[in-house]
Amino acid sequence: MSELNQFPRELEHEAIFIMREVAAQFERPALLFSGGKDSITLVHLARKAFYPARVPFPMLHIDTGHNFPETIEFRDQLAQETGLQLIVRHVQDSIDAGKATEETGKYASRNVLQTVTLLDAIEELKLDACIGGARRDEEKARAKERVFSVRDDFGQWDAKKQRPELFDMLNGRISVGENVRVFPISNWTELDVWNYIREEKLAIPSIYFSHKRPVIERDGMYWPHSAFLNTTDDETPFTGTVRFRTVGDMTCTAAVLSDASDIDTIISEIREATISERGARIDDKRSEAAMEKRKKEGYF
């Protein structure tokens, strides 16, 4: 087994240190859970950090209503097995309350809308810290993110006003109304996460593995066909053997053609991939600075 397939344990010690800093520095933290592999990794790290005590914060899931059913099933099972409290807030409620408006057209997705629901949940639950699974290797704007990222009253990120982070000292002091996004796996790459999942034998939703599902081909990518996807007349669904490399909504996550049915095969697939992980995220393709713009508005 080559060294590339080994998980650098230093990253785990760093992440556990950060988890404990959150518990010590904040009164009402929550772990943002999406059902994806990164947030599953976070739950595992949190359990390790506080063992044998319970994780001292709940999981918060912003449910767009467009999730893969496999993700929701996995989420509920994980909550039950770990005993972590699960809080769910729904984008549909924000739409019904007139706070957010559904997008139209064939690219319509609720990806941008979930920021509204998230910010409302932060206010309602009086959260002062939200732990997220974002990694700096994912995207150029995320490469500039801090471990403790301070957001203002409106959840906004200001790249020019970020606090310097020196050595491993984390400054989580905030004023009333502000909150902090915390990223314990900032320094992990996609490959690190997969190697960790393999070495720790973590369960992940079935859609990460090869399966058959109806898809349509659009813009050179395979989109999962579902009731939520607006299709045009010339887009005919067919059954593809696919898997998902990243898990977002059914309307903004493209599948890759793959026969990989176990973690080892997934890892070799990623090592040879010519497309980046977020290359399958349709939400990132809206513009060169799509992520930076969403981050400024309070996105994850």
């Binding site: 044998p52 290797d137 020196l166 980046s276």
Partner: protein, 418 residues
């Protein structure tokens, strides 16, 4: 797998982002979609080459102005190592970001434009490398093509930098590499255009660097971060002191001292996520159970009883200011040393002029990017070492109690016992 953390620094047009882009490109760490995006951006900008700097300059303002504003973290791996690069901007106004990027690394890469030679920023980078006691500084003399691949230009920059490093007191190793980042000469692959250079390409040298283990021969320093108390039937009396061991090692059964109480006790067990281990090594996030019921809370420190850290409430430090609002002498700041926070007041002793390496004693303005020696007084003691002896226990940050900003970083140079 080992992790090598590197900080890169250079002035605006030294080609630093291009160098990093080249490292990523030639180690095949760039995926096709990212490369295509950079190719099309380059075309839109009317360039006749692929501008690899676009791989890292991520913010809208950075791309508009063609500069790097903030510390970017970049990752790549070779067959044997994982590299984390903290790419820091070179402009004078963002020096604080350079210190930030350099605070966690053992290696830095400084870029020099072969046409311009040593400039003010080179001086600043070397000084910060010296201040933070970085082990190895690679000096990459870039754009050798624009000086006709002239070995004498390289040689004269080299001797100038060596003299400067002497003057500044940089004690680490200096390595010089002539490169053309744009074309890849001596970055990942050796160049054929500079036969007078018989050294290795940059990446080859990085691959052969000794990886610094967090030194287990240093005295043990274990700051208590969090107290784990399950309150469950199964673990009714469990009380685990959670933290990340900064230096040295701790063994089960070892006698330790708890600061500030000074109580001595024995380590009953060491656990990582429920798995017991015989010892904890520097860098590990573990939890300790102790034999005696000692009153311990966050910010206290468990240390090797034979070499305890000193409780300090007055000490000398080198301070680098990072906030728009200058230091106010006599004002109370929050000093964070590791996970411990105390109130502190600062008196400036002298300010360093990096351009001349001369110190001025009139402490009138100590503002953004100022570096100087200060005297620190704290309301309660911190359990610290000098940065030179135990690096990870010898630094602190200052927080403004009103704005909550991190306003300065300090390196403890010497202390007086409490």
């Amino acid at each position: 797998m080992d992790i090598v953390r590197i900080a890169t620094a250079g002035s605006v047009d030294d080609g630093k982002s291009t160098l990093i882009g080249r490292l990523l490109y030639d180690t095949r760490s760039v995926t096709k979609d990212k490369l295509e995006a950079v190719e099309s951006s380059s075309r839109r900008r009317g360039l006749d080459f692929v501008d690899l700097s676009l791989l890292t300059d991520g913010l809208i303002a950075e791309r508009e102005q063609g500069i790097t504003i903030d510390v970017a973290h970049i990752y790549f791996a070779t067959a044997s190592r994982k590299y984390i690069i903290a790419d820091t901007p070179g402009h004078i106004e963002y020096t604080r970001n350079m210190i930030t990027g350099a605070s966690n690394v053992e290696t830095s890469i400084v870029l020099i434009d072969a046409r311009n030679g040593v400039i003010e920023q080179t001086r600043r980078h070397l000084f910060i490398s010296a201040l933070l006691r970085i082990d190895t500084v690679f000096v990459c003399v870039n754009k050798m093509d624009l000086v006709g691949f002239d070995g004498s230009v390289f040689a004269s920059i080299r001797s100038e930098v060596e003299a400067l490093a002497d003057k500044i007191g940089f004690a680490g190793a200096l390595r010089f590499v002539p490169i053309v980042a744009k074309d890849g000469d001596n970055v990942v692959h050796r160049s054929t255009r500079m036969p007078w250079y018989d050294g290795a390409a940059l990446l080859e040298s990085l691959e052969s660097l000794p990886v610094r283990r967090l030194d287990t021969s240093l005295p043990a320093r274990f700051p208590v971060q969090y107290v784990i108390r399950p309150h469950s039937d199964e673990h009714h009396d469990y009380r685990g002191y959670a933290g990340r061991l900064l230096s040295g090692m701790i063994q089960a059964g070892q006698e330790v001292e708890v600061l500030p109480s000074g109580r001595k006790t024995t380590v009953r067990s060491i656990a990582f996520a429920g798995t017991r281990q015989d010892c904890a090594l520097a860098g590990e996030s573990v939890s300790l159970e102790l034999d005696d019921d000692v009153d311990i809370s966050r910010g206290d420190m468990i240390v090797a009883s034979e070499v305890p850290a000193r409780p300090l409430n007055a000490f000398a430090a080198m301070l680098a200011w990072m906030d728009e609002q200058p230091l106010a002498q006599g004002k109370t700041y929050i000093l964070q040393h590791g996970v411990n926070r105390v109130k502190a007041k600062i008196t400036v002793q002298s300010v360093l002029d990096i351009a001349t390496m001369e110190t001025r004693s009139e402490p009138s303005a100590f503002g953004l990017n100022a570096i100087g020696s200060v005297h620190v007084r704290t309301a309660k003691p911190v359990f610290a070492d000098s940065y030179a002896t135990v690096r990870r226990n010898g630094a602190f940050i200052l927080i403004d109690a009103f704005t909550n900003n991190t306003v300065a970083v300090g390196i403890i140079t010497e202390g007086a016992a409490a």
